[in-house]
Amino acid sequence: MEYALFLGCTIPLKMPHLEKAFRDVAAILNVNLKEMEGVSCCPEPVSLQSLNIDTWMALGARNLAIAEKMGLDILTICSGCYETLKTVSVLLEEDKEYLEKINGILKKIGYNYTGKTKVYHFVELFSQPDWLAKLKELTVKPLDDLNLAVHYGCHLVRPSKIMQFDHPEKPEKIDIILETLGAKTIEFANKLECCGFCARLQEEIGDKLVEDKMTELCELEEEVDALIAVCPACTTQYDRKEKLVARKTGKELDIPVLYLAEIMAIALGVELEDLNLKQRSVKPDKLIKKLTT
């Protein structure tokens, strides 16, 4: 299996330890990753699309065209990149007139996108039956003792007419991956709530959303060992704000937030000290203790 690896910006530049975890997982699973030459920001789906849809589409199409030249499909490790690149690919496939307009721009820099590039998030890939079987086979440290809460985030699954891979209101793919690795995943009321990272105008929106979700998780009867996210924005939002909200409200909120590839790497045998698990606001001390005893 070979893919063009689309890293995006936030993970490789601000959270490279997440990239490291993902590359470790891919190496263990024997996924061949090819680096992409000269790609830009996906570009990010919130503000650039808001400023100018054509700029957003054309930059996205250029990235897709680079993969097309490589003859490979794209594998993303961020929900924002996944949303942009998949939306651009689906919309340009549906609207040939618009594709022609975008290609008119791309031609000036020597590209022509024909619409062949498929875009995957690694959750989409690894939740397929043959990959699950492989995961199961390669698990050396089953996550048997862990209770994990999953945060899907919005852009991975919606709008479903574009994303087309998991249920938009009852997604299960991440749960399935974690259960395959031996963990127990829990159901909770705020599971599908947005993290609020993209609501940039009012900081209190994110504060409230993070407080609601983390408070619920801390009050559950069964202790939750970690919240698992697949997007750098969600991951950083919960980790940073959980600490801030705890300080502000006096609530004891102490659930660590991990990126899916990190917990996968643990199950697949990557040493804990190679994973930079302490590099976050809410330190996963209890989790590490549980994993090492």
Partner: protein, 177 residues
């Protein structure tokens, strides 16, 4: 929250609905039945000055000025539940992006949004990657044993930004710095 607007029928901008719906992704605007599902499921519904179904109604009525000046079109967290749940398939998230584009053309851009294009124009990434910042990032990656980052092709990226009409915004702000 919602303010009472009094406007004479002659002052409505009647073509507004067609300006929006001429874009392929926004055709659905005209099908809205004002059921309110979008607003009831909206993540930021308590925080906006105009709820989603009201924004759509205002677009249909021709309240262009009010819609483009509203804080509602920029408060959205882009969770896409509105688009997902609409029984008439009105793509509110896409319509909102279009409304933001229109507001930008009129120079109404919140500062939280305008910087992105400058950062991408200057770095290719949406995170600054020059000078000392670049050195720090590169060092951190090396420590983790990660491959060197391949720099974005800035000339190509800038040409796209200019050709699609955001060049002035990207450069104008650069000059401001």
């Amino acid at each position: 929250m919602t303010q009472m607007i009094k406007k004479s029928a002659n002052d409505l901008y009647r073509n507004f609905r067609y300006e929006i719906s001429e874009k392929v992704g926004a055709k659905s605007l005209l099908k809205c039945i004002q059921c309110g599902v979008c607003s009831s499921g909206c993540t930021v519904t308590e925080y906006v000055d105009m709820q989603p179904h009201r924004v759509v109604a205002s677009c249909l009525l021709g309240l262009k000025e009010e819609v483009l000046a509203s804080q509602a079109i920029w408060t959205c967290s882009l969770c896409h539940r509105c688009t997902e749940r609409c029984p008439k398939n009105v793509d509110y998230s896409f319509i909102l992006a279009l409304l933001r584009n229109m507001a930008v053309k009129e120079g109404k851009i919140p500062k939280e949004y305008s910087g992105t294009v400058v950062t991408i124009y200057n770095n290719g990434f949406v995170v600054p990657y020059t000078g000392g910042l670049k050195d720090n990032i590169d060092r951190r990656r090396k420590r983790l044993g990660l491959p060197d980052l391949i720099p974005p092709d800035l000339a190509e990226i800038r040409l796209i930004i200019e050709e699609t009409g955001l060049g002035d915004l990207a450069k104008e702000q650069e000059d401001d710095k």
